[in-house]
């Protein structure tokens, strides 16, 4: 039950899930430790242990497990970090991309795994934290490489535009690059996780309520709602993986754009 209890109100009255469904009590009163916090720490431990075990005994001729881990690492290294940041600069950012993707992935998958059943990133604080860090990072490396003015010029004034257009283009680009970009970066994964979880709450809560409290024939509809909930879970699984990929891809893309010579 747990969180699902929150989805229903009284005995007879159906209370639709709301944003308060995402609030969890402190596990130990007064400590401030809540379920999402436990999950985020656990995810870091899971990911760290996975990579440590995978890299512990690397052989030139890999075993099955090493092969799988290498495939994942190679994909993140070559298909995300290298393709987005470029052959010249991608090396220092490979650990970041690897950590980002696996960290976000595990946290998203918590939405699918029984007993967790909450995508951690449906709490806005977590993607916000990562996005702030990334925002500082790519602006810092961009300014370090091009200087403040050069960096701003690179980011806001794309070449090959008739000069009067710049009066219009530069403010728009500035707004989009330095204000909207980090916000959308954080909101994208948050909103997908939040909405996905909400959909599941609606279908499960409705199914349960209809089944247990529905009048006569209405109760028959309940199981269908639960079936849809299961189907939606698998759709969510896809979205969870996709959003982790997109988050890491965009992070690498922003770093690459900050380092690139020309926009």
């Amino acid at each position: 039950m747990g969180m699902l209890v929150l989805a229903e109100g009284g005995e007879d009255k159906f209370q639709a899930p709301s944003v308060s469904s995402f609030d969890f009590p402190e596990i130990f009163a007064g400590t401030g430790i809540t379920k999402p916090m436990v999950q985020i720490v656990l995810s870091a431990i899971i990911v760290a242990v996975f990579w440590l075990v995978a890299s512990r005994n690397l052989r030139i001729v890999p075993g099955k497990f090493q092969f799988a881990a290498e495939e994942a690492y190679t994909f993140l290294r070559n298909d995300i970090a290298r393709s987005q940041i470029g052959n010249k600069d991608f090396r220092p950012y490979v650990p970041l991309v690897v950590s980002l993707f696996t960290f976000v992935l595990v946290n998203n998958l918590f939405g699918f795994i029984p007993f967790f059943q909450l995508p951690t990133f449906s709490h806005f604080g977590f993607p916000i934290g990562l996005t702030i860090m990334l925002y500082l990072l790519y602006n810092f490396v961009g300014i370090r490489r091009h200087g403040l003015f050069g960096y701003l010029k690179n980011q806001t004034a794309p070449p090959g535009v008739p000069w009067p257009i710049y009066f219009l283009l530069v403010p728009i680009e500035f707004f989009s690059k330095f204000i909207m970009q980090p916000i959308t970066h954080a909101i994208r994964v948050f909103a997908a996780m939040f909405a996905g979880h909400m959909i599941l709450l609606v279908f499960v809560g409705a199914g349960e309520f209809l089944l247990l409290h529905g009048d006569g024939a209405v109760a028959i509809v309940g199981p269908f709602s639960l079936i849809v909930a299961v189907a939606m879970s698998f759709l969510e699984l896809l979205i969870q993986v996709l959003q982790a990929y997109v988050f890491a891809l965009l992070a690498a893309n922003y770093i690459g754009a900050a380092l690139a010579e020309d926009h």
């Binding site: 944003v19 760290a48 890299s55 290498e70 990562l130």
Partner: protein, 185 residues
Amino acid sequence: MVQLYSTAVMAAEKSNNPILPDVWEIGVGLVAFLILLFIVQKTVAPKFEALYAQRTEAIEGGIEKAKAAQEEAKAALEQYRAQLAEARTEAAKIRDDARAEGQAIVDEMRANAQAESDRIIAAGQSQLATQKAQIVAELRADLGRLSVDLASKVVGESLEDETRKRGTVDRFLNELDAVSAPAGK
């Protein structure tokens, strides 16, 4: 239900707006991620990169090794071919030599045999000639003596004049030879 209501109350006390992030969550999430990033950066990524470098080296080394082995094999093959050709020419030479030597031996043997047969024939002929001469001499002596004896008996006295007698017999025999020689030849 009590718990439910307390939760709802607590939620109301905090903020019910999901867009307003919990500062604690930002902090905890960030710290957890930075620790993970540190671990991956310090231990995991270098190991994978080292593995890739090692593998590249191993593959390149393997290719080079294979290339070297191929070169070596090719060189050995060339060498064997050269040796084979050499051996063939040598064998041909030896065969030619043997043939020539055999021919020489046969020729020599033939010559030897010819010489031997010539020698044997010559020896036989000379022996025959000797024997013939001896027989002729003996016959001539016998014939002379018999003729003289016969003549003595016919005449009834000894023919004393030896020298003359001999001359007569010899002259007769020579005439006889001269007559029979063309026929006997």
